[in-house]
Amino acid sequence: MTDSIKNFDQLLSLLKDKTTSADAPRAGIVGADDEVLLRAVTDARKKKIVKPLLIGDKQKIEEAAGGAGIDVYDIPLLDLSKPGDMIAKAAMMAADGQFNYLVRGRIPIHDFLRILFDRQLPFRKGKTRISHVAVFEHQKYPRLLLLSDAMVNVAPDIKGKLTIIDNAVRIAGQLGVEKPRVAMLAAVEVIYPGMKVTEEGAVISKMVDKGQIRSCYIDGPLSMDVATVPDVAASKGVHSEVAGQADILIAPNIETGSGVYKAMALFVKARTAGVLTGGIVPVVMPSRCDNIDNIFCSLALGSFLSI
């Protein structure tokens, strides 16, 4: 049994151990004409945790690099000017085994997802549902905290939530959390018939009691503070394997996931990474509010998950 990874420094040192014996994972940076992204990529490349291929408009990429005062001339580059072409090429190269993961650069999320997961492209893996998993590290929290879904699934029903949970549990497993603790987030921690989110949380946690789900602990509905603060859980009388110590937070809908993700990125002194799962390779999804450190963490996560 391996210990679970508690923070990004730990993840990085494990990753470095792995990349000394094997080649660093190859990543396609799709839409690479972004200053902050290029800084993070060159940094990660220097630390030998990634072998990048920059995909995008050569002139724009060189301008962005010049603005940042960084040298990208020795990084391989694929000169394409249309986002659609960049994404299609990246998807085909990934299908061809040339990339271990992809990184979304300066392409709007909505367009990026629509094109990448178009059924004409070989990027979708069978019937697997695509979902986004965010990973936070916070000094006050003794473990990595995962959140899903902040970017892809708009209003997942119970079935949809089960696959979102499944995807997140798999990522947690790769991060060494053997039986993750999953909180179904809601505004309250009791069940109100008619309040849909509380009903969904209840049904899904009951499936664990019935032995239908064995890969994780689940409790729901739980409010954010009951899920993550042991004192609040105790004071509200909520005792479960999950309350106060969740590994994974499942948001009821995309608006909630997005709100939490952005609040964390803007106001919480947390390190943040995000990855899309359900494609033939992981896709790292830096957000526009990420600073260079967070993008670096995302690259480290992408490399770690695909090595």
Binding site: A187, M224, V232, S258, K269, S287
Partner: protein, 314 residues
């Protein structure tokens, strides 16, 4: 313009220098509530009238070492009558704020909306949270994370209007309001982006005063000029929102709590839509948050008074 939770408290204390504000607590046999009123009273924010089971109130006070001196205790063992007593005092002008004690929110609201008292001001009452977030340059109002579960169009309009009232009570004019969504563009695949756009459109049509509205607008664009620039959005509300109005109770509650838990934000909350503001604090709120909530309710009450009866009957 009030910009922090400390400034909310300071402003309420200043009001109480001339005439001490009074909070009427409905069903006061709740140690946390008594403690909150005590500390607000000690800080000069307000006085308290505790309606409830006097024996239990005194027992709880003893047990928790809360001194009741200076707080009025009105013995009423029947919870419904305790609610009515507190509401009646406020309706007759004897108290500025009604505070929720050991009673359900719905039980309390039933008392407040009792037709005899004629206290309804808006078709929909809503909860407005005011967060003091380290790293944001002013206070942020969030709504509705406490009352209306899944607001329809009309309810969301009232949620916006109620939040603007609270913003005005904090001295903000115009109140910059963003309507939430997970994308800044109207998308067929995300109905909330369209709902938010319709709310903005309707309020613009109605020339709703004292507000600058934007929506759909993502949280980071509303709260960060840098993110707004990166997203290519140039709008007076972007990066400078006073209020962020969510689509569901979960969205608001969970986002707010993530900032309370992980960003050390100080939370205060008030229910608006009646002529008397309703204060409710949670057991798990820290003392500072509870005091700020009471102070906030006093400011809202004062704002109503300044606006006068004509405004209340609009």
């Amino acid at each position: 313009m009030i910009k922090s939770s400390q400034e909310i408290i300071d402003a309420a204390v200043k009001l109480s220098v001339t005439t001490r504000r009074r909070v009427a607590v409905a069903v006061a046999q709740d140690a946390d509530v008594i403690g909150a009123v005590r500390s607000a009273c000690d800080d000069g924010i307000c006085n308290g009238s505790l309606f409830g089971d006097e024996a239990k109130i005194r027992e709880l006070a003893d047990k928790n070492e809360i001194i009741l001196d200076g707080l009025e205790v009105i013995n009423e063992t029947d919870p419904n009558k305790a609610v009515t007593g507190a509401v009646e005092l406020a309706a007759s002008g004897g108290a500025d704020v009604v505070m929720k004690g050991f009673v359900s929110t719905s039980g309390l609201l039933k008392g407040i909306l009792d037709k005899r008292f004629n206290l309804r001001m808006s078709p929909n009452l809503s909860h407005v949270a005011v967060l003091d977030i380290p790293g944001y340059h002013k206070l942020l109002m969030l709504s509705d994370g406490g009352m209306i579960v899944c607001p329809d169009f009309e309810q969301r309009l009232d949620i916006v209007k109620n939040a603007v009232l609270v913003g005005r009570a904090l001295g903000i004019d115009p109140v910059k309001v963003a309507l939430s969504a997970a994308n800044d563009n109207e998308l067929d695949s995300m109905p909330q982006t369209k709902d938010s756009a319709r709310i903005v459109e309707k309020l613009h049509q109605d020339n709703f005063p004292h507000a600058r509205l934007a929506g759909p607008m993502t949280f980071d664009v509303a709260m960060s000029q840098e993110c707004a620039n990166k997203a290519g959005i140039d709008h007076p509300v972007a990066g400078d929102a006073d209020a962020y109005i969510f689509g569901t109770i979960e969205e608001c509650n969970i986002t707010a709590k993530s900032m309370i838990v992980f960003a050390d934000a100080i939370f205060a909350g008030v229910i608006v839509g009646a002529k008397i503001p309703v204060s409710l604090v949670s057991r798990t709120d820290p003392v500072k948050g509870k005091k700020t909530s009471l102070a906030l309710a006093c400011l809202v009450a004062d704002y109503y008074k300044q606006m006068g009866e004509s405004f209340q009957n609009d």
